[in-house]
Amino acid sequence: MRSSERTYVATAFVPFRWRRVDAVAARLVAELRNSGIDAERLRLPVTMTEQGAAGSAAAASLVNLSWAHNVICLEFPCLHLVADRMSAFRVRGGLDDHLLRHDVVARTPASRFAPDLVEPGATAGYSSAPAWMPPGLLSIGLRDRGVITDAADRLLVVSLHESCVPVAQQTADAAPGAHMIREHGAGVDIEGPEARLWRALEGPLPGPFRAVHVVVPATDDAAPQWVPELAGADEAWTIVGPNGTQCVADSTGDPRAAWSAFASGLLP
């Protein structure tokens, strides 16, 4: 892999909606660029009816990107692109979930996957779903590759709601050298807590950290499921605070280093 090589990180174009797959793609591009690789996002037009999906796949198959050196596909219909060097990583919540029942997805040739980049235990090919779906976004390859380590005895505390600040602050105060991020403000409720966590982790962090604690409101029922995987957790536990807040904590390594390794691991 030479730094002059050009790498596309490809997703579908789904406008005016926050999606985790877009956050993953943006972060991948940033990490690849940090590694000196000329990376860009590519968002493919897509129509999300069953008939439209077939047309979208056909349209993507007409786009020839052989001149680009690498294409990393994160969701439908990117695997239909024409490219000489292509790898794939499915992101939970991407269009593959939505289109799984459609024949057009099942027909995606399994040979277009790079098998070593598919989650261990998964079968290459869309038609084998849902067994192939990675259980956690950051879990792929990171622990196996030894990236997540106890690199430093530091704690990152992320508060995703104003009501969580007291608990977050209390947690941070109790840990020497802890760093706290308050990620809340105008408009964030529209985007949801997942978007806020992504934004928090995308900023420059004074890592590495031994652990990441994410504090979310107790009313956010989905938090225990999505927080650990986003933070790259090996394990997670939930604490319900005295004021009704819920503290989800996990043991993890440095999220930035993890991202960097994740990005480089996806290169064909």
């Binding site: 050009r6 007409l62 786009v63 020839n64």
Partner: protein, 347 residues
Amino acid sequence: MKVIVAAGTPGFIGGGAAELAFSVDRALRAAGHEVELLWVPSYEDTSTLLPQLAGLRVHDYSDEADHLIALRWPAHYLRHPRKTVWFLHEFRTLFDLAGYVGELGSLQPGDAARATVLARWERLVLDEARAVFSNSQVVADRARRSLGGFEMQVLEPPYPREIPDPFPFAGGSHIVLLGRVAPIKRADLAIRAVAASPGDWTLTIAGVPDPPAFGVALQTLVDDLGVAHRVNLRLDWISEDEKLQLLERSALVLNLAFAEDSYSYVTYEGWAAGRPVITVSDSEGIAHAIAEAGGGLISEPDPASLAAAITDLLADPVSAAAAGAAGRNWVTAHGTTWDDATARLLA
């Protein structure tokens, strides 16, 4: 209002079209709209051209957005009942550059038939738009000729950012050529002009080589002509700050692109800095703007003529300063505002 701004892109390289897309995005957001930028891969291979365009026609964004603004080719092939096209150029390989042999390649077997089909398709997708603007009179004239009399309204893009203060004109003997370093931009002509000039003026060429091999070719040319002591090749992306620094210490700006669609941002930026611009007679949009503004000189497109024009202007700093000031006046007084432009695009 939810607005999709779609623009074709060759990928991995910036340029005037990308700058325009970012400008439209900023202006729409400033006006309170929600905006999504969609970069549509563009292509130069004529053999796969028509199927790829057919693929774009699959997509209709009626449900996702209130309005679609299509910029660089081929974004206008997307469907939307409220579609506005700001037309920057045609598929140049088959139309205005059909006779040009450069990085775009020469015509292939079957291209004449493809051009006929393409002209018909262009009319189809442009006719369905609510409004079609061109970025210059040159583009509007070309479209009228190649698309059976199709008429576009001219909407020249306003300056992409806040217009910076001009730099005092200090003369000197350094000149600069900025922007994408592609064969059609003819940095090689500038290097040959250095070799053809007995003067001691120096030249900086700054920008990303496209393709990368062209940068290597330029370095070889500099070495072969023995002008390495007078030519600085800064073949990389440069920041806005570095660009302004280069303009500040330059006496004049070269913009030698062949058959340019419009005045081009390089001309705009040179003039905004108060520097005169020298172009060549076959640069079309650039020459047209310089003639209109009085902001520089127009040379014949050969090394000796270009070297003479540069030498003359460097030797006459009073005229050079006046031309730079005229260009600056054209930038500040010319065209429309972004508020007006976005209002017209969404009307």
